[in-house]
Every structure is written in structure tokens, then in C-alpha cells.
């Protein structure tokens, strides 16, 4: 059941990413996908320790593990891509709405499917701090990546 739901979610989110207008170039989107995937995988090392290394009190199935892997490597990174593409829109209100909506989706997703997203129970305040740090890090890294291109263009000229 959980795997079927996750696969449907993947289909919806990937199609949403395809349909929504993209403010970032292909290179920037790929860069963002790779950096946020690596960050998410490393961030989950501690909360998902029970699943990774086997905990006698923690029941997991192949189906559950696959759902977790799909969440970790497809749903979270693609949601980040969608959010960061939308936050590039001009206008403070648009940015604020996008940020708030992304935060709500992130918290809801982590709380509703806790066992297959963050594995351990984490309180909302910690999740909120993590989300702010993660989002800021992605925006800073993206800005740095964009500056690299601008510097290259100015040095070429």
C-alpha cells in the first residue's frame, strides 16, 4: 500500500515539476538536484539510523524501505526543485507564499508518513529549524553557482 501511494506521489510531483514554469536553467536545476539529494542523504544518517543499521524493535519491510528510498531520493529533491524554482518569481508576497506553502508541505509530509520519510519521530520545532537551514543553504549554494557563471562570462568578455 505504502509503495503504491509513494509511486503515485512520485508521478504527481514529477509531472508538477515538468508542467510548472522553470525560472532556473537546466544546469542550475541539475546542480540543485544533486546538492539537495546529497544534503538530504547526509541529514538522514542520524534520524534513519534505526532503519539503516537494523533495530530489533523496528519493523521494516522491503516495501517500506523502497518507499523510504523513493521519498529520500526523488520526492524530497523534486519538491525542493519546484519550491526553489517558484521562489525565484519577483514580488515579496509571492516569495513568502511559496516559502510558507513549501514549509507546510514539508512538515505535513514528514508527519503523515513519518516512518517512511524521517523514520524517527522529530518534533515540529526541530523540523522547522532544519527546514530553514536546508532552504537557506540551497538558496546560498544556488546563488554561488549562478555567480560562477556570471564571473566566467565577464572574464570571457
Amino acid at each position: 500500500m505504502v509503495l503504491a501511494v509513494t509511486l503515485c506521489l512520485i508521478w504527481i510531483i514529477v509531472n508538477l515539476f515538468i508542467l510548472l514554469p522553470k525560472r532556473l536553467s537546466r544546469e542550475e536545476n541539475l546542480f540543485l538536484f544533486l546538492t539537495c539529494s546529497i544534503t538530504i542523504m547526509l541529514s538522514l544518517l542520524l534520524p534513519a539510523k534505526r532503519m539503516y543499521f537494523g533495530d530489533p524493535g523496528f519493523n521494516y519491510s522491503i516495501e517500506g524501505t523502497l518507499a523510504f528510498l523513493f521519498n529520500r531520493n526523488i520526492i524530497f529533491p523534486v519538491l525542493t526543485l519546484i519550491s526553489i524554482n517558484l521562489v525565484q518569481d519577483k514580488g515579496l508576497w509571492k516569495k513568502l507564499i511559496t516559502f510558507s506553502a513549501s514549509f507546510c508541505v514539508f512538515i505535513l509530509f514528514c508527519k503523515l508518513e513519518e516512518k517512511h520519510t524521517i523514520v524517527s519521530s522529530i518534533n515540529t520545532v526541530t523540523l522547522f529549524i532544519y527546514f530553514i537551514c536546508f532552504y537557506t543553504l540551497m538558496l546560498v549554494l544556488l546563488k554561488g553557482f549562478q555567480l560562477l557563471s556570471q564571473k566566467q562570462q565577464s572574464s570571457d568578455q
Binding site: E27, L34, I38, L42, Y60, F145
Partner: protein
Amino acid sequence: MIPKGTVFNSNELFILITGVTAYTAMLLLPKRFNRQQTITMLLIGAFISTFFDNTVCINPFNYYNVNDTPFTDFWDMLSFVMFGPFAYFFIYFYVVIRKNRTTYFFYITIWALISMIAEALAWHVGVYHYKNGYQLFFSLPIYLIVLTATMVYYHYFIQKECIKIKD
């Protein structure tokens, strides 16, 4: 971050030497890509390593341990970074060589074999500890898939960019 009982021995030395050599070679080679492309290639290498070590190493698969502990430690992270330049070299030499319709097939095969030899060496010095019946040969399809994915990146991001510049 180094856990108790972990000493600096052959596997840590292997990671350090390979990493330093690879990054030095990358910096010494004549530049063929812009900075964004170089960073993306390094990230592709690091992503592939992080992804497989955090997927094949965990339950229910649990096919191998990286370095001295089953947990991810400082040296595991360093090994993820160490893999970065290999994606760069893979694309760099493919750009350099003369190509025809079948080149990519032989090129990927040769790189997969080189990767197997490198993994055998890493296993020998203790970077990888196979478990639950895993054998070196099982890594071959993973290398073939990963190298093909990197080739797809080359076709869509490097080659098309070169064609655009020429036009």
C-alpha cells in the same frame, strides 16, 4: 568524528592518496569545461558514491560496509568526496578522444573494467568489507548503469552546449 577503535591504516591512506592524486590531476589537466560544468561533474561523482553507499549498505540489503565501521564516519564522507574527480575524468577523456558511432559502448566497457579493478584494490586495502554473499562481480551492472547515466549527462549538457557555441 573518528570512532573509538578506528586507527589510521591502509584504507584511510588509500582514500587520502587517491583523493589527493585525483584532485591534483584534475587541476593540472588543461581546462576544457566551464566552472559550472566542472562543479556539476564533481557533484555527479559525489552523488553516485553517496547514493550507493547509503542504499546498498543499509537494511534490508546490507551488502557491504565502507571503511572500519558500519556507520558513516569522517572517512566515509572523505571517500564520497574522493569519487568526484572520476566523473570529471570520465567525461574529460571522452571529449578528448576521436569518436564514432560505437565509441561510447567500448568507452563505457573499458571504464567499467577499470572501476572493477579500482574496487578490487579498495576491497584489498579494506575500504569495502563485503557481507551477505556480495561479490565484486555484482558491482559491474552498477558501474555500467552509472557510467551510462554520466554519458547521458555528457550528451545533454556538454555536447549540446558545444554544438550551440559552434552554431
